[in-house]
């Protein structure tokens, strides 16, 4: 499939999604229901990622910075 332009390629990708999840066969109101459910789940996933992973990453980064900043003083504290 030649990648003529990005919108066309995205539309083709969307068609593949439709075919795989069989929303190609659904009536319009079923499609609305299905897509809204999918978007809701995706939104929740992204929010969970943001909340958990961001906090976890920032705390990990803080630990790393403290390691680099004061190696001797905090080494014993960390090991304990």
């Amino acid at each position: 499939m030649d990648v003529k332009s990005t919108p066309r390629y995205l539309y083709w990708l969307f068609c593949q999604f439709e075919l795989i999840t069989c929303s190609y066969l659904m009536e319009p109101w079923e499609k609305v229901l299905f897509y809204s459910f999918n978007l809701a789940v995706l939104g929740l996933l992204l929010y969970t990622t943001y909340v958990c992973v961001a906090a976890h990453a920032s705390s990990a980064l803080q630990l790393l910075c403290s390691f680099l900043g004061n190696p001797r003083a905090n080494a014993l504290a960390v090991v304990k």
């Binding site: 068609c15 593949q16 075919l19 795989i20 069989c22 190609y24 066969l25 659904m26 079923e30």
Partner: protein, 518 residues
């Protein structure tokens, strides 16, 4: 490449059959698709039950709601929720002779395939890749049609009797002698319907106390005939000779289940070409086993007669074997001869017995005379007795078309099942939405294909089945291949991972089923 033959040199030519394994990702996504459709099916059933939505399918009457439910099993669930969505790919009405090109009546549905209306337009010249027209005898002009028209004006269309009463015309006798000569057997008998040939004659041949060993993927007519007969049925894995040999050994050693008496008869039911897989039966090995264990062989050549073999005489000629080794050679006239009906060929005693004891001979109306004449003319054409080489040319054209089409499809990257020489070409689709999409997209591009899903195939292995014909010219095949390529790219159907594993003819035990090695 391993060309060592372990089975005693039974095969005179290489046997190339391959069933590529389903890619794991595709299988998972297919299940996802079916899962989503099932959930929506439950939702729609709930809505229909609580009257939120109008119920358009068959249900019990109000008074019968407390009885045993009729429509709650999986088949009916599948029917109303999955089949209905893609129903427009089947039962399409055609309005011309189903030759290489066919005309179809256009129809639309305004309520998602519950009802159809005809627009009145006729879509002309659709390339027909779905009809069983292997040698191209489905014509409205030509020698066959003229002969059939002459016989129609002479005998009329109806026979109004069964074979045993007043329905035995001289045309039927002529046909049976001709078919016996064509197949190379002593005698043959013809019936009006191919399905009825199987289902009505197997009960006449075997009964209680006999054993039937039937292939896993046998046609419904063979299964019905086997069940009607009352014999014990055991299934062996598809085209798997080790499985068949194990069953034969067990049958001879242990005998009947409770009394341990020897079986009265052991009948092996196989088909020449299996129409859903495109695979050819391993006939040399089956015959060797049959001789070793002294059992009988019933070969159903519905798709292979006329389509295989250098002169079109079927799978027996394809392998270079003698027709006397096969006890009952059955076939149909529907596929390669452009007519309707079936035949059974074999020894004279067998056929004389069937003339008296077959249900089909005693109760079914005999074949219509114009149909008989169509078969007589087409068989003569294939044998070359009408003085031309048209028949031979057609058989060779079919073989060329088969090889070309299969090679091109494999090169494009589709998963194709079956033997290299079989004119039935199944192309794997797997996902349910792609079944409907493929049928519709091909029709938009003026090519008529047959798509098959559950219950004719296992639930994830849905496919599109192409039936090649000697009437297809190379230009038609090229057009069809171009469109299939386009649709394959559009729908992402090129699943093949090109692991061309040669078929290993090594002896393996009963635990292995896949013939290809990773």
């Amino acid at each position: 490449i391993n060309h060592i033959v372990h089975n005693g040199g039974l095969y005179k030519r290489p046997f190339n059959e391959a069933f590529e394994e389903t890619p794991m990702l595709v299988a998972v996504l297919t299940y996802v698709g079916y899962g989503v459709l099932t959930l929506f099916g439950y939702l729609r059933d709930f809505m229909r039950q609580w009257k939120i939505e109008k119920c358009q399918n068959a249900t019990e009457r109000e008074e019968q709601k407390d009885f045993v439910p009729l429509y709650q099993d999986f088949e009916n669930f599948y029917n109303r929720n999955l089949y209905m969505r893609i129903r427009d790919s089947w039962n399409r009405p055609i309005c011309s002779v189903p030759g290489a090109k066919v005309d179809m009546m256009e129809r639309v549905s305004h309520d998602y395939n519950w009802t159809f209306t005809y627009t009145g337009r006729v879509i002309k010249d659709i390339i027909n890749m779905g009809s069983y027209n292997y040698l191209g005898f489905a014509q409205k002009t030509g020698a066959c049609q003229e002969a059939a028209a002459k016989v129609l004006s002479q005998y009329g269309a109806g026979v109004c009797s069964t074979r045993q009463e007043m329905g035995n015309l001289d045309k039927h006798e002529e046909l049976e002698k001709l078919v016996a000569r064509f197949l190379g057997v002593e005698s043959a008998m013809a019936y009006g319907m191919g399905f009825a040939t199987n289902s009505m004659n197997i009960p006449a041949l075997v009964g209680k106390g006999c054993l039937i060993l039937s292939d896993e993927l046998n046609h419904a007519s063979l299964v019905l005939g086997a069940r009607l007969s009352g014999a014990t049925i055991r299934i062996f894995k598809h085209n798997n000779m080790q499985s068949l040999e194990k069953l034969l050994k067990d049958a001879i050693v242990h005998g009947q289940p409770r009394t341990r008496r020897p079986w009265k008869k052991i009948l092996i039911l196989v088909e020449g070409i299996y129409s859903m897989e495109g695979s050819i039966v391993r006939l040399p090995e089956v015959i060797a086993l049959k001789k070793k264990y002294k059992s009988y062989l019933y070969l159903d050549e519905a798709h292979s007669i006329g389509a295989l073999g250098p002169s079109g005489r079927g799978v027996v000629e394809y392998f270079g074997l003698s027709p006397e080794d096969v006890d009952v050679m059955m076939g149909t006239f529907t596929k390669s001869f452009g007519a309707a009906g079936g035949y059974i060929g074999g020894k004279k005693e067998l056929i004389d017995y069937l003339r008296t004891y077959s249900h089909s001979a005693a109760y079914a109306t005999s074949m219509s005379p114009p149909v008989v004449e169509q078969i007589i003319t087409s068989v003569k054409c294939i044998m070359g007795e009408d003085g031309t080489t048209v028949g031979e040319a057609r058989v060779q054209q079919l073989a060329e078309n088969t090889r070309y089409f299969r090679r091109r499809l494999k090169e494009m990257g589709f998963i194709i099942y079956g033997n290299e020489d079989s004119p039935v070409v199944p192309l794997m689709l797997y996902m349910p939405a792609k079944i409907g999409a493929f049928g519709r997209e091909m029709l938009k591009r003026n090519i008529g294909v047959v798509v098959v899903g559950f219950p004719a195939t296992p639930i994830i292995e849905s496919r599109a089945r192409f039936c090649l014909s000697a009437a297809h010219t190379k230009e038609m095949l090229d057009t069809a291949l171009k469109e299939i390529n386009e649709v394959g790219d559009l729908l992402q159907l090129k699943y093949s991972r090109r692991r061309l594993v040669p078929l290993l003819d090594r002896p393996f035990d009963e635990t292995t089923y896949e013939e290809t090695e990773d």
